[in-house]
Amino acid sequence: MAGRVISRDATSSAQTAPGTRASGSACAEWREEVAALTRRWFLQLVRERLNLLLSVTQPAIWLVFFGSALGRTIDRDVIGTSNYVGFMLAGVIAFTVVTNTVTGAMPMLWDKETGYLDKLLSMPIARSSLIVSRFLFQFVLGTAQVLLVFVVAVATSVDVASGVLGGVAILAIAGLLSMALTALSTALAYRVPSHGTFFAIMGVVTLTVVFLSNAFVPLDSMPPWMMIVARLNPLTYAIEAMRILVLEGWDVTVMRALIVLGLFAGGSLAVGAFEFRRHTGERTR
């Protein structure tokens, strides 16, 4: 190994000239960074086949489980439709999005705790590419899940009232919700002193958020206090809109949900960006 020559080619001198960039514009570099980091996430996912399999099929499994096991015990007058799987579909999608946010922030937590984040931060990359790559990964994974659960739902018993376009709207709603929640859980991952606190908080928050929404029970059949809390829960808006798209078709509620979720996602992204900058600011100020 000793005495081996590291070839010094023309590119190395161009690269080290003061003030010049290695290749292309800042924008091209940013795309390159996001692509490389996203590749890292996907490689990790596909190497764990069981993880990949369960990640993608999980919502479909939930749907089948809830649909067939609980469907018979549910009072149709309470849920307002005879199609329990159709009623559940929106809840299962929302539940999946919530579960994903926990697993989605976990690798960020590991990178931070093991010091790999430090290594990345010592490289000439934009801070935003770290976050954006994870969002991109989560988005692709989430889309795959929702598409599969749709196929399963349609194949079993559900007839989506709003048609194919409604399916696209449901994807958009799930995407917005996912973006908002991932931003918040990422913010928490950077904020907490260690992963113990992260999981403790997430354990309580995720279940509370799901149960204090209309995921499994319609708002009308809740006690008044619970209904008020559920009305303040962004998850409720997402589920309500998705449910209407599945069972009834297009409605003004869908618009309202998109606005509420858009605002929620905007606010969450701001919080996420603030926490990320706070965590790395010590270094990059």
Binding site: R4, T11, L43, E282
Partner: protein, 318 residues
């Protein structure tokens, strides 16, 4: 001519603890510059400031003329950083080649030479035969070599190595030493933090010895050792204080130090003349000698002379 590393009273405190205290470093192009000191001396904190991961509390540091606080982006483009502990667990499901490819992209190695650089880096550290293995199967030495390979992909002007051989077996250490010596021949500037005396002595052409966040002394290993004295006589005895008192005022004794391991180190100009005198003084004072050896001064003696403590003991104690 600006140096590759220049620091000006570089200081970092955590609460009221001063981790690095008014440090002045200067490394020129082509130097293998060593930061030698026990654990907790402030080496890693210094490196974290130089690699833009930590903001200095006061003072300044420039890498290739760029200020680490004001122009961190320019600094990051010019450095390669190999961390003390390789966080490989987060990438255990990736193949070695994939990791190198990803890091090459993150360092913006031009597309047209990327493939060639990746192969070259893997080959240089003897990892080409293992390029398609998952790194979860790698040994500690291989992880370190993989990290070293990544550090050079983008031809940095400064390669920062934090304890590159910590916890490795002898064979891996020698392999990495050979590699660093190869870099010296190529004219790459290296900042090497270590608490191994032999490593610093063997690899570095300039050294700053650190203790408790401060620079103790700087110079080339030869200069530093030369400043100690010509020779060191190490005497193990049951009553070291009495021996020291008995010989301290002899004209041929330059200095004496009582070590933590209860030895007396006697610094003399010429050990062959001083040895008989040490023996006869011990006999005259009825002091039992357990062992008497003499050596050329090592960096351990340099550290001992300037801090009153032995680096070896600190290593063991750490």
């Amino acid at each position: 001519m600006t140096g590759v590393i220049e620091t000006d009273s570089l200081t970092r405190s955590f609460g009221d603890r001063l981790a690095v205290d008014r440090l002045d470093l200067r490394a020129e192009a082509g130097d293998i510059f060593g930061l030698l000191g026990p654990n907790g001396a402030g080496k890693t904190t210094t490196i974290r400031m130089l690699t833009t991961l930590l903001t200095p509390s006061s003072g300044a540091a420039r890498i290739c003329g760029f200020d680490v606080s004001r122009e961190p982006g320019a600094v990051r483009r010019r450095i390669g950083y190999v961390m003390q502990s390789v966080p490989w667990q987060v990438n255990r499901l990736l193949r070695a080649r994939e990791i190198v490819e990803i890091e090459a992209a993150l360092h913006h190695v031009p597309q047209r030479v990327r493939r060639e650089r990746v192969d070259e880096a893997l080959d240089l550290l003897g990892l080409l035969p293992h390029a398609d293995r998952l790194i979860g199967e790698f040994s500690g030495g291989m992880h370190k070599r993989l990290d070293l390979a990544c550090g050079l992909l983008h031809r940095p002007e400064l390669l920062v190595l934090d304890e590159p051989t910590l916890g490795l077996d002898v064979q891996s250490r020698h392999r990495i030493w050979d590699y660093i010596l190869g870099l010296r021949d190529e004219g790459v500037t290296v900042l090497l933090a270590t608490n191994y005396l032999d490593e610093a002595d063997r690899l570095c052409n300039r050294l700053t010895i650190m203790d408790n966040g401060r620079s103790v002394v700087s110079g080339s290993p030869a200069e530093l050792k030369h400043a100690v004295a010509a020779d060191v006589i190490q005497v193990a005895t049951s009553s070291p204080e009495r021996l020291r008192d008995a010989i301290a005022h002899e004209p041929w004794v330059k200095n004496t130090i009582l070590t933590d391991s209860n030895e007396v180190h006697i610094y003399v100009k010429d050990a062959s003349q001083a040895l008989p005198a040490v023996m006869s003084l011990s006999l005259a004072n009825d002091l039992g000698l357990e062992r008497v050896t003499y050596t050329q001064p090592s960096l351990d003696d340099v550290f001992l002379l300037h801090t009153g403590r032995e680096l070896r003991d600190l290593e063991v104690g750490a």
